[in-house]
């Protein structure tokens, strides 16, 4: 792939998804895009990118989806789930005792492993059994991933990465070689394709936002814009959970680190206005 095509792809991906390729490697991009290229009947990358430049939306969408699909697994980064179960949920249960309602958003849910991991934890904590209403909203830019999440069907490789065997037999039913999430857990999660560059207006208040391993692919300006929009939908006592290598520090002043929970952030306490004449 020549430098000009590479630059065009990088610019198109940034515009459509916010994805910043940094120093893109042609090999890496060609590997990711080869199946898309073949699907659209092209034999070489040059003619494929040339057609892409003509503005074929279906192709551009397929390229964006292929480049933004990330590896994930159930209970990925175990420590984040321990914070969620041991600190975040108990704190919110106290604060929301009057409404008995929790809204959790998995902002880049891939094929559903993250929202279903959350659903399993909340089920083990018996929230619904205690009369709580739990809404887990799961979004991803890739509609194919959203469809997989809605199906809740996983291969035996998927369910053996991060999922203890007891949780597998308690929460999944076997279907041939695959495993399907149980219906009560599936009903806890609402899936929807969504681009983080778009308006968050439809989300309303969310108590916990899980936006893990996404911001790291954005440039500074896009990171700041996404973090500011998250701040808008998060109440003053809500939580933002990021990936282990991500931080809002130096990007957005809306958040500060939560005490004793690396990777977890709360809304920044605004400086109180100084008294006149003080």
């Amino acid at each position: 792939m020549n430098q000009d095509d590479l630059a065009y792809l990088a610019q198109m991906l940034r515009r459509r998804s916010g994805l910043a390729l940094g120093q893109p490697k042609a090999d890496h991009i060609e590997n990711r895009l080869a199946p898309v290229m073949r699907r659209f009947g092209f034999k070489d990358m040059e003619s494929f990118v040339a057609e892409l430049r003509h503005g074929r939306d279906a192709m551009a969408r397929a390229v964006t989806e292929a480049m933004t699909t990330n590896e994930t697994s159930f209970f990925r980064d175990r420590v984040a789930y321990e914070h969620f179960r041991d600190t975040i949920v108990p704190a919110l249960m106290k604060r929301r005792a009057a409404t008995r309602r929790l809204r959790i958003w998995s902002a880049a849910c891939s094929a559903g492993q993250e929202p279903y991991s959350v659903a399993m934890l909340l089920d083990e904590m018996r929230l619904r059994a205690q009369g709580w209403t739990v809404d887990i909203i799961a979004t991803d830019i890739n509609p194919e991933m959203i469809a997989r999440g809605e199906q809740g069907l996983y291969s035996h490789f998927d369910v053996q990465r991060g999922l203890p065997i007891r949780r597998l037999v308690e929460n999944f039913a076997q279907e041939g070689e695959n495993w399907r999430i149980s219906e009560p857990l599936r009903r806890m999660v609402t899936f929807r394709p969504f681009n983080l560059l778009d308006s968050f207006g439809w989300l309303d208040d969310v108590d916990v936002v899980l936006c893990r391993n996404v911001l790291m692919y954005f440039d500074q300006r896009t990171k700041a814009a996404v973090l500011d929009k998250i701040a808008d939908i998060l109440p003053s006592d809500g939580y933002l959970v990021l990936g282990p290598v991500e931080t809002p520090q130096g990007v957005s002043s809306e958040f500060e680190a939560a005490d004793g929970m690396p990777g977890v952030y709360v809304k920044a306490r605004r400086a109180l206005p100084r008294a006149i004449g003080a």
Binding site: H156, Q160, P164, I165, R166, L168, Q174, E177
Partner: protein, 121 residues
């Protein structure tokens, strides 16, 4: 160095598993059936056993029951690694004292994830 006994009647599976476990810092030993494995455990009890189900002489589940019955004190962690991939077998294994369960075919990533589940990596 943590020790692991790989119990499987397939030489290839034993070789693959031992190579991965060695890479992960385990001291490995092999047994081709339950009887040999029990003898090996009497001689030296490993910290972890990777255990196949269907084997000649003594199956994996028979071995596990004998192991859990016979030893007082510190018991090794047992991870089944088998093609018996249905819920009935998994439940039976957990009931007999298995700590984790790998459904074959497996790869390094799965083995490493399961070792993490039982706190060994």
């Amino acid at each position: 160095m943590k020790s692991c006994l790989v119990v499987d009647d397939s030489r290839v599976v034993r070789k693959v598993a031992c190579r991965i476990l060695s890479d992960l810092g385990f001291d490995t030993a092999e047994a081709e059936d339950g009887v040999t494995a029990l003898e090996a455990c009497r001689f030296h009890m490993p910290e972890m056993i990777l255990l196949d189900w269907s084997m000649p002489n003594m199956t994996g589940i028979e071995f596990l029951r004998a192991l859990r019955r016979g030893q007082a004190g510190e018991q090794p962690i047992v991870i089944f690694c088998t093609t018996e991939n249905d819920v009935a077998h998994i439940t039976e294994a957990l009931g007999a004292g298995a700590n984790e369960y790998i459904m074959k075919p497996f790869d390094r990533e799965i083995l490493e994830a399961k070792l993490a589940e039982v706190g060994l990596v």
